[in-house]
Symmetry: C2
Subunit: 233 residues, 2 copies
Amino acid sequence: MSTTGRGLHGRVLDTLGPEITAGTYPPGSVLRTDELAQRFDVSRSVMREVVRVLESMHLVESRRRVGVTVLPACEWNVYDPQVIRWRLAGADRPRQLRSLTVLRSAVEPVAARLAAENATAQQCAELTEAALGMVAHSRGHKLEGYLFHDVAFHRVILTASGNEMFARLGDVVAEVLAGRTHHDVMFHDPDPAAVTLHVQVAEAVRARDAERAERLTREITEGALQELDILAP
Amino acid sequence: MSTTGRGLHGRVLDTLGPEITAGTYPPGSVLRTDELAQRFDVSRSVMREVVRVLESMHLVESRRRVGVTVLPACEWNVYDPQVIRWRLAGADRPRQLRSLTVLRSAVEPVAARLAAENATAQQCAELTEAALGMVAHSRGHKLEGYLFHDVAFHRVILTASGNEMFARLGDVVAEVLAGRTHHDVMFHDPDPAAVTLHVQVAEAVRARDAERAERLTREITEGALQELDILAP
DNA sequence: GTGACATATAAGTCTGACTTTTTGTTTCCG
DNA sequence: CGGAAACAAAAAGTCAGACTTATATGTCAC
């Protein structure tokens, strides 16, 4: 699932990045490029590229005669998909999941409203298909299939909103939904009420009822928040 | 205002980054590292670091035997503050401003609700101070002072929400507000109704009235959207 | 104590050689 | 004539070493 992968540079990043976001080195810690290069058994050139990328994510700051300083979490580019993945894989996963779910609760209702106003016929069809797919996989422990259509549904909503900032949150939502399915509760089938809401949202968008699409989506995201409250109070 | 600044690497990035986000090279264009190094008169090492950073922003993709390919805009990390700045400085500034304002309209009301629930006494004080500052600078072409307190106000709301994802949008909002003040309309004093709304939001947060804080903030962001509609229909 | 100066340090930069992967071509056999 | 296999070229990837530059810190005189 980790994307960077390719090349020596990517492998070092995939080790050092998660370490930093996990808080292995407290803010203010100073790392030396040479030592890191030695530790990972790579040349300084490669190590410098890694540090540059980390710096562009505001995870570290590199200064002459000082070294590579780890920045406090409040400086991090928390919208960087890579950073999100690293943090979701780490220890403060629950907190991260909550932050993202709150973000969803703010964005998705507005996205649904816009989607109702702007969605193409094609997108309406995709939305309906996704909702029906959710219904079809909502019983009998077909969780993977359910997740697939759930992700598709929210992706279409975000894309159809016509706002590029919303559209780019599709991956984030996918990550959150996947996390919920795989980690937290695989026990019971999804809440039937939630499934119904998705179908109704699809209907509202198709009917160009922006008000209704927004309200129903808000119910969905509020449900997601409550689910979190039950698990991690 | 451009932040990267430091070092050779930063200067090249500050030229090449904006060029890419401006669409100077259409998606699919292929650049060669060696040629770029020659053009900017830097070594390949430096050029490689630049390409790595661009790659981490998903602006380009580097593949062996083919070169550095420019990715389509839908792949870009549009939440990266650097990318946001580059795009705001470029040609499709109006579109970008609209995207960000829509994002604000989704996020800020929810942030205000959470701020009403979570704000510390300190933060309440800062909020009131900012609102009063806006009032004090709302007449007589004291736009810079007004902007300063406006930015402070929204920053406190986003921070006090207690959600790190919201908090990190402070810079974005600052950029949007600054853009509005400096480019679009410096003619007339700010809308008195908007000023009043800010004061009322501060009151609502202080009174822990989450519902009211959210509703009033929604009015503010809707006003911002309408302002955009008037300027760029 | 305060200011100017010296010094050590770690990042920053450049160069050139070498490796690896991938793509496009060419060749050879069926 | 077609397809598979071998080959060649191109560009990124990697490495090693020498050199430059900024700057934190310690030293010394005043």
